[in-house]
Amino acid sequence: MSSVRPAPDAGPPRAPAPVRPARSRPRPLRLGRGDRLFLTVIVGVPLLALLVFVWLPALASIGLSFTTWDGIEPGDIQWVGLDNYREIFTNYPPFWPAVQHNVVWLLFTALLPTPFGIFLAYHLDRKIRFTRFYQTAVFLPMVLSLAVVGFIWEIIYNPDNGLLNGVLNGVAPGHHIDWLGDPDLNLWAVLIASAWRHTGYIMILYLAGLKGFDPALKEAASLDGANGRQTFLKVVFPALKPVNIIILVVTVMESLRAFDIVYVLGGGVGSKPGMELLSLLITDNIIGESSHIGYGSALAVVLLLVSLVAIGTFLAQTFRKEDQ
């Protein structure tokens, strides 16, 4: 912009240089036209992408949730108002079990693997022997792809020659437990597989936080006569608030979007009795040979609302505290 002349060795002083102070005085035009164009592009393109690929589909889903459509001819879309929602809440057998399972999933994950991951992190952070080995071992499931995790647990849960039934048979012969087939049992079987993965994830997050923790605080606590538990609960845990928030968000999100491992262990065809989840019901209705786009969209909107309520409450609380 500034170099007007094309000659490469354009002599001593550059022409526009003296103008600069004058230009900066009238405030509004600090950016040149090129810069503004550049900014427009660099902000505009991602914004456009966000609108087209995230917000448009989201809004379209909300719109479609009031219609019935087989997903083929756009002309076949029929407005049905709140019918889909009424059907879902009053007359869709897998819906309430799915809601219940989502809640169970959230509570289970928040109460067992998450604290356990923190527990492991806290202990592995101390300089015990083989700590690297333990850390790697616990984190390993997180490195595997979900398909592999599914295969591993399928082998463990196989009713005929699986590891678990083999061990059971050795201890008390004659017992035959159908881990993934029994509707009263399979959700828990899947939750354990998911916890196996989740623990390592939480552990690594918390370890990262602990690495940045100021040891002087711990020293001060022990000088004051705090024991191990008191040090953790009163000093370390509150001081790691940012990490705690991340862990909470991760746990809630993972529970609401739980899908993949259930899908894999359920055989990859959709929801199975005992393992219904909202995310699975959505794909049940939308993906497949005869799709019910409107119905599936209504389910998706329900999940969206639930997620928004969960995330919204959480964000509101965090920000309110931060403002004070």
């Binding site: 500034s2 170099s3 490469p8 001593p12 550059r14 550049f38 592009v41 660099i42 393109v45 456009l48 992408a49 087209v52 087989d70 997903g71 083929i72 001819e73 059907e87 007359n91 869709y92 057998p93 897998p94 399928e154 849960y157 196989n158 009713p159 005929d160 035959h176 437990i177 159908d178 881990w179 993934l180 087939g181 029994d182 509707p183 399979n186 262990l265 359920g266 055989g267 990859g268 065809v269 959709g270 929801s271 199975k272 009795p273 005992g274 049940d284 209705n285 993906i287 497949g288 040979e289 005869s290 799709s291 019910h292 119905y295």
Partner: protein, 436 residues
């Protein structure tokens, strides 16, 4: 000073142009899917036909390769095969057909074919049938027509469902193949006494479809073909007294099922039959794909599903038919028609059966001299049937079956108590799938 003033703008520009370049690529990537969606796809090559295949397993894959290879030799047209895993193919069929599908694709006869014909996602192929029609029976023709009476489908093979067993087990223990329901349940009882799992069973994971075979047969034998088909097409209520009779019969049978069925694959269930741990299996001829030791094949036999109501006898055979369809706007219509004509010929069927012997050819002029005893018996069973059904999820709306009926039946089979609650649940969803 001069150095500085020369260098700064240069680096500034280059950094900016790098970003600009990246943005350009990003924008192009974003636009790409839109462009391909608008255009008619890549320019079509008149010497090439594209073929979408769901035969991803080793045996069907090499069998299809044999077919397309022979066609290329005959016609000089190249076939570009696009193979997708069986379950994925089925699940994404709807979006596949709306996008840029291959010219010719594998699919199933029955309601499932008619659904896509009705939605205009397939192209009628009456002209193809003008030349291949003479090779097929009326039943096969019936199976290949849409609701509008036009042809949409070229059948390749079918395979019957029946009750399979090992001859040596029956001989050792002195069992006789049962013909009636009473004999059947008595045999199952005896097997359990002898320490066998009477009926091999595995419907875990993605295999819950495999229980439909038993449901279809129970319903067909107890209530007849007409009622079964109306039930499948959503024309009668699922709370009908006859449907609950079917579940009552099933409950009678369920104690004889192999334990832990909800977590087992059909392959493992079939294996337990081959290992002589189970006595019988209600399954299709594709059970043969599970046999790795060829000597074993001669020891496998089957009997038709037993009679329940004498007025219907054993008049219906469940024999799903697989074949091919033409996509709605083929890129190479002439070439695709030629390929379909070839696939509808006796020669194509012979080539296919030569590689994959666990099916039976549909073409009436197909060479059956190379059939193994199981194939021969299957062909006879199908030929003697008064009615041929396709399969629960092919005779009905597959969405209804896979999201309502199957989960319901699978859950009920775990605790087969009174079926009326289940039937009420299924019935409450029927109108969502079958509206005029």
């Amino acid at each position: 000073m001069t150095m500085q003033s020369r260098i700064t703008p240069v680096t500034g520009h280059s950094r900016r142009s790098v970003v600009r370049g990246t943005l350009g690529i990003g924008a192009a990537a974003l636009a790409a899917p839109l462009l391909t969606a608008c255009g008619g796809g890549p320019s079509s090559d008149p010497k090439t036909v594209t073929f979408g295949s769901n035969g991803a397993d080793a045996t069907p894959k090499s069998a299809y390769a044999e077919l397309t290879g022979a066609f290329t030799k005959d016609s000089g047209l190249k076939v570009k095969t696009n193979t997708v895993d069986h379950d994925t193919f089925q699940k994404s069929i709807s979006s596949y057909l709306q996008g840029t599908p291959d010219d010719v694709f594998t699919w199933f006869a029955g309601y499932r074919m008619q659904y896509f014909a009705k939605k205009k996602l397939a192209h009628p192929i009456d002209d193809v049938w003008d030349s291949i029609g003479s090779g097929f029976s009326d039943a096969a023709k019936q199976l290949s027509r849409g609701e509008d009476g036009k042809y949409y489908f070229v059948p390749l093979y079918n395979y019957p469902w029946a009750v399979f067993y090992r001859k040596s087990v029956f001989k050792e223990r002195g069992y006789a193949p049962p013909r009636t329901w009473g004999e059947f349940t008595a045999l199952a009882k005896q097997m359990r006494k002898d320490g066998l799992s009477p009926i091999a069973s595995g419907y875990g994971g993605g295999d819950s479809w495999s229980i439909l075979g038993a449901f279809d047969y129970l319903n067909l034998r107890a209530n007849g073909y007409e009622f079964h088909m109306s039930l499948m097409r959503g024309e009668v209520s699922w709370t009908d007294r006859r449907a609950s009779r079917t579940l009552d019969l099933w409950r009678e049978l369920s104690p004889y099922y192999q334990q832990g069925a909800g977590g087992r694959s059909w392959q493992d269930a079939a294996q337990s039959l081959l290992d002589k741990k189970s006595g019988m299996a209600v399954i299709g001829l594709f059970l043969g794909q599970q046999i790795t030791d060829e000597k074993l094949r001669a020891d496998i036999d089957f009997f038709a599903f037993p009679e329940i109501d004498p007025s219907f006898g054993q008049d219906t055979v469940e024999a799903p038919t697989d074949g091919f369809m033409l996509s709605r706007r083929p890129k190479n219509p002439e070439g695709a028609a030629k390929l379909l004509e070839f696939l509808g010929s006796a020669q194509a069927e012979n080539l296919y059966m030569g590689v994959d012997p666990s099916n039976v050819a549909v073409h009436s002029k197909a060479d059956t001299s190379g059939y193994n005893p199981l194939q021969k018996k299957s062909a006879e069973l199908i030929a003697s049937a008064k009615h041929i059904t396709q399969f629960g999820d092919r005779d009905s709306d597959p969405g209804f079956i896979s999201t309502v009926v199957l989960p319901g039946l699978a859950q009920w089979l775990g605790h087969p108590d009174d079926g009326s609650a289940l039937l009420k649940k299924i019935e409450s969803q029927r109108s969502r799938f079958f509206t005029a």
